[in-house]
Symmetry: C2
Subunit: 321 residues, 2 copies
């Protein structure tokens, strides 16, 4: 099997590559080749018997998608994207990458006239307030960011292109991936990870919102698990509704902190400093809280059961256990 | 006030123009000028003191939207579109007109840097089976046609562009407009109108589906009423969810025929010939049935109360009473 990954230099992309090289097979087939694409040069980890190639460029540029599809990959993970904050401040870039980039890729597959599985990472940012207590699968998406709008539009394309038989698409709406490894970033959601990550490194972290804020999380490990499951699932089981809300752990920030205290002790949680920030809270208040994710669970997508598990996954995967 | 109408040569467009020239005012302001655009040359009815100009061309062509926005119309009715059947058989045309045409228009307004009201005719084709008994406003749109997909994508753009303050958009999801005047067309939904229209003209009509099929209708007169209401509504009342499912009359085909018999007698309904067509039925089975349309009703959008009223509106407006 030949695999193509867009956005392969990103956080989820790198973890997916590592997992695929370890598994050496996907959806019951042996992996022969993995092509990685990103606007930032992706690393090319070595693995005996698997060809790993890296391509660098703008996915939305003329001809870029066609070149990536030329070798007719059987499995395409479309992860490339501009994050929420950037899509909001840079209008043109967001539409160019998240909408036009996806459409160009989908059209290149359509015109290549074969039928690969396409797994697309959408986001729970397709949803906008007000919400019911628990958001059901059939709740309408009304995004409150340009990022969420672009993801929704790409979802709609994925669904229509699948219905028409151009490819076999599965869209997975990821919850916030937490604990995000690496440096703090400027995303409004950054604090959900930094209040765990920084204290575990003995550093202070700032909490800009009240402890009562509810949000849904899954670990990077679960995100990769979702991608693998989406790659292997029988399309007939998915049916015509190709975009699935992924499961996760819905908790208050207070519960996140209690979990951190259980796992790492109060010396660690003391490093969280509450500095209320009205601007951040205003954004976060419009974010979805809890999801039912019934269809995804029934289709075999699994996430952690508790925030303790999410913290332990971070300690195992990033801090050497 | 200066008004722009795209798709002005179409069925709804022509009726809207007639109504505006009769009212001579819109949203509490006197109408000074109406610009009509269509790929088919629109008629230019005369009215003292109102400038009516016609422009002909492809809305999606480079520069077309910019030219239409040059005079900064205060009110834009975006009705241009390729119908469902055509968007399904001609993939490129559907995406070009319904998606790219809308995006080009919206971008021309964005770049002109002013803030008109934009009223966009979406469709209940954004919804796809399976449905609950009555479809609530918060039900998720999962289109089962390329047309519905394109309308959904344009809705998402309208919403985001409104949120960002580029314009003040209201999307109205029209139910099937019935009785559609004029010649029978090839739309799969055509029979809903032809079983009323043709018999009233003393001609036979074919019913391809069982009488138990449920569908929601509003008259062309109501469609124009929705557009006028959307033009005048206070955007703050609409809030962030800019796309509204319009009310209509949800009836079985059997109830349509009973209404026709009440209004016009059994000599007329005898002209309906039942010729079951599996292909048509297969399409129609995935169409939405009944809508709650609560938000639209609360916001003052009104349709007929019964199918008898819809037939009487047709007789008054098209058959001289
Ligand atoms: N991490 C999360 O919490 C989360 C939540 C919901 C959805 N997602 C989605 O999952 C996917 C992966 O997330 P991530 O956390 O790894 O994001 P990331 O930002 O780490 O990775 C995205 C990658 O896309 C690349 N990219 C950006 N513009 C590009 C272009 N024009 N051409 C080619 N590549 C380009 C970036 O360089 C980056 O490496 C993204 O599509 C993201 O929107 C992530
Ligand atoms: N009539 C219905 O039952 C119904 C239901 C739901 C939604 N709608 C929507 O309402 C709107 C008006 O409906 P209608 O019944 O008057 O449709 P119509 O087909 O009679 O009118 C649409 C007009 O758009 C024009 N058009 C097509 N391509 C164009 C292009 N590239 N550039 C410029 N103009 C172009 C056509 O020439 C036509 O005159 C459409 O957007 C339609 O999708 C209609």
């Amino acid at each position: 099997m030949r695999i193509l990954i867009t956005g392969a230099a990103g956080m989820v992309g790198r973890k997916l590559v590592a997992r695929l090289l370890q598994d050496r097979q996907l959806a019951g087939r042996t992996i022969a080749a993995i092509d990685l694409h990103d606007i930032v040069a992706p690393e090319t980890p070595q693995a005996d018997g698997i060809s790993v190639r890296a391509f660098t460029g703008d996915l939305a540029a003329a001809g870029a998608s066609e070149a990536l599809i030329a070798d007719r990959p059987d499995m395409i993970f479309h992860l490339a994207g501009v994050v929420s904050g950037e899509a909001e401040t840079n209008f043109d870039l967001g539409y160019r990458v998240n909408l036009d980039g996806s459409r160009t890729l989908f059209d290149a597959i359509r015109l290549a006239n074969y039928k690969p599985r396409v797994v697309f990472t959408s986001s729970i940012a397709v949803f906008g307030a007000p919400f019911p207590e628990v958001i059901p699968d059939e709740f309408h998406p009304t995004p409150m960011t340009s990022y969420g709008t672009q993801k929704l539009m790409a979802e709609a394309l994925l669904s229509d292109y699948t219905r028409r038989g151009f490819f076999d698409g599965v869209g997975i709406r990821l919850p916030t991936i937490c604990v995000r490894p690496g440096k703090p970033n400027k995303a409004a959601s950054g604090f959900f990870s930094s209040i765990i990550r920084e204290p575990l490194h003995g550093q202070e972290a700032v909490l800009p919102v009240p402890r009562s804020v509810v949000h849904t999380h899954a670990s990077p490990r679960s995100a990769v698990g979702f991608l693998i499951r989406a790659a292997g699932i029988d399309g007939a089981l998915v049916g015509p509704r190709r975009n699935l809300t992924m499961p996760g752990v819905g908790v208050t920030v207070g519960e996140q902190i209690e979990a951190l205290e259980r796992v790492a002790g109060s010396a660690v949680t003391k490093l969280i400093r509450e500095v209320p920030d009205a601007a951040t809270w205003a954004i976060v208040q419009n974010w979805p809280t809890r999801f039912e994710a019934r269809r995804a669970r029934e289709l075999g997508f699994t996430a952690e059961q508790s925030f303790d598990e999410i913290i332990r996954a971070h300690i195992e995967d990033e801090l050497g256990g």
